[in-house]
Structures are given as C-alpha cells and as structure tokens.
Symmetry: C2
Subunit: 223 residues, 2 copies
Amino acid sequence: MATGASSRPPRPAVLPEPARKRYHHGDLRGALVRAAEELLEEVGPDRLTLREAARRAGVSHAAPAHHFRDLTGLLSEVAASGFEGLAGAIASSAAAAHAAGEDELSATGRAYFAFALAHPGLFQLMFRSQVIDMSAPRLDAASSAAFAAFADAARASGEVGDEAGGDPLARMATLVRNWAMVHGLAFLAIDGRLAGMLPDGATLAALTEAILAPAPAKTPAGV
Amino acid sequence: MATGASSRPPRPAVLPEPARKRYHHGDLRGALVRAAEELLEEVGPDRLTLREAARRAGVSHAAPAHHFRDLTGLLSEVAASGFEGLAGAIASSAAAAHAAGEDELSATGRAYFAFALAHPGLFQLMFRSQVIDMSAPRLDAASSAAFAAFADAARASGEVGDEAGGDPLARMATLVRNWAMVHGLAFLAIDGRLAGMLPDGATLAALTEAILAPAPAKTPAGV
DNA sequence: GGAAGTATCTTGACAATGTCAGGATAAGCA
DNA sequence: TGCTTATCCTGACATTGTCAAGATACTTCC
C-alpha cells in the first residue's frame, strides 16, 4: 500500500518516551509491576484494577495475561518485590545499628515500621493472603527472607537467647511477640487507628517513637 | 378473581421459615447484616458481594439500597456490630479476671485474640478503613467503646500507672504497645503467617499462649 | 371503611471489571 | 527466505455496584 520502505506504520522518528507506540512493549512485565505499585499507593489494594494497570502501561486490557496468569499473579509478583525490599531494609538497618553499637532489634523494628508507613498500600497487600498466592516461589522465598532477617537481628541483639537453656518455644514466643507488636503498630497506624488516641498535643511520630525507642524487652527498672 | 377473603396472593397457610414469600420481608435490614456476616466467614471481606447478600436474604439485588446507602453502608453496619461484640468480650473477660484475682490486661489480650480467631473475616473487615466508613456514628461509637474497654482493663491491671508521675505519652505508649502486640498477633495468625514458624512439633495454640500468657510487661526476673 | 401517602421491593439498565477465545503483528530461527 | 513462537489486540461473556422507574404493601388520616 504505502511506501515500500521497511517501516510499515508511520513511526515518528523521535520517541519522547522509551518506545511509545510499537506493537511490542519491550518490558511490559516490569511496566505492569510499576503501574500496580503506583496504583497501590494511590488507591490502595482494594481499588487496584488489572485494567487500569494495563491502561497505565499503555496496553490493551488483555495484554497482562501473557505475563501474569491473572490479577493474583500480578499482585503476588508485586508483593514479592515488596518483601524483598522489606528484607533489605531490615538487614541494612540491623547492620547500621550493629556498627553504631545500638540495639539491633529496636533498629529493625523501626525499619519495619518505617517501611510500612512509606508504602502503606504495598504493605497491606503483602499481608492479604486471600488476594495473593503465598505458594508462588518468589513470594514464598521473599517473605521467608524478610522474617529471617528479623530473626537474625533479634538473635544479634541478645533478645532471643539462643546460647543455652531457653526452650525453643519460649524463644520463638519472644521473637514473635516483638514481630507482632511492630506489625500491629504498623497496621494500626496505616489504618488511621492511632490518630484518635494522641494525648493532648502529641504527634503520631512521638507516640510511635515512644513505643519503638526502648528495646521492647524486660529490663529491671532503673539502669 | 379468587376468593373474596382479605389475603390476595395464595399465601400458604403454614410458613416453614419466618415469612417466606411475601413482598415485604419484615426484617430485611437484619437479614442482610446476618447474610453479610455469613459471607464474611465463608469467603472473606474481599469476595463479599452485595448481590450475594441480597440473594441469601431472598430479595432482589436492588433491595438493599432501601436500607443501606451502598455496600460501604452495609459493611459499616456489620463492622459496628462486630466492635460491639468485641467490646463486650473484652469487658466481660476483664470482669472475670478481676473476680478470679488474675491479671486483667492479660485476660483482655486473650479475649481480643480469641475474638479475632473466632471471626476472622469480620475482624479483618473491622480494620479496613477503605471499605467501611469510620465516621458512621454507630461504628465510631462502637470502636471507641472497644478501645475504652481495653484501656480500662489496662488501668485496672496496674499496667498503665495512672496514679501519678508518668507522663501521658509514656502511659499511652505502654497501652498502645500492648494493644498493637495483640492486634498484630491476631492479624498474623488469621493470615496464616505463624504456621511456618512453629518449633518442631509445637502447635499454634501453644505458641500464642506462650506469647499471651504472661502479662506482656516488665517484671524483674524471678517472682 | 376507604383513599392518599409512604415505605418497601422489583425489574431493567448502565458502566466497569476479570477472564477467555480468536485473530493480528512482530521477533527469532531454520 | 519461510516457519514458529512470543507478544499484543479486538471482541465477547458473566458478574458486580449503582441508578431510575414502576409495582406492591403498609400506615395514616378523613
């Protein structure tokens, strides 16, 4: 029909964004994950939509099916990368605390909380097993790694005495208690449940800092 | 047409269930709330559907609109009654502990956790502000009452020293720390996050009991 | 008692969603 | 070059929440 040149559609010579209108996206998988992460923070996990993610990636509504089995597949991938980020944040905060001679467990708790507050929608998604597929290999590995990083920090801080004596159940109880406290605090803060209980003119940051600052352990009064 | 009696439609003399096929349901509002509670436990808050609730109540898909503004309205009502139940469970467990000379805070923590495990879907809904309307009067009042019951128990147990000295922020921090721990533990348990970290052959009940049993406070070792 | 008014429920429609089937296009490989 | 495969699109379907308009039953007022 048109010219005999090799380029069939009138492709513009200059592409403003990395590959604009070509049939093959190039990195649709990554673009969908990024779009989903955006949506997660803009509208939350409840209003996130596969079609809107496709729209933002500049692609038809059925295109994602070639990269993810379904919506659960995409969300599981996003959650997996979220857990990887969380594991990294925990590990690096523990290392920094160790270098500074501070308590590792307290530092990782603050890192955990900060991560949740920085990515509320993603954090909520990461703990919504009915929407993601926890048996997905990468997600399973990433979530395990995140908890392992937390457990390592607890061991390093001496909070979970692993040298002798203490039976495994009691040690695990101490570990999980710390985890649950930080996790619950993050969830309550994200959901806006702490706003209503700030004494007089106290800020939310002050309250959470007062909760997280001291090693949440048992220390004989004084000292 | 038919007989001249007052009953127009051929209404069966015996109604197997309380009012079967009449145009006006009688208690559609309550029936919808019950149907939603059922669905909450069967499929969870993510797959709960307004149309399915209407179906279970034996009513058309648009009928709920005359009793609840929209899906959020129905869910807010369900969440409100959930908080009322939670507040009751907390208060009664605290009273029982007081009578038995046990620690009130520990008892309420176990009651909180037990409530969450007994009604997982409802509990998740109660802490999903993007799906319910926290400004709904009844919901707002009920959630405040639940927290107030928890705070009362903490005060009674002496965990939150309200007599003198301690500044309000520190007292609130202790209170919220206890709440967050129990809340996080409940969420993690419901989401199946604790199953993977049971030492050898320990059961989940044993682990959670080990976490909740001692007053999660600072007690000088011994005694 | 009967008529008017209101609360309650139904039917039908709309846009939006997730998913599937089948066709079009581009890339890779022989 | 021609074939195969990966990638993407169009179109369709059932389902959802919500709205509009009509049908039905209850209430109230004369």
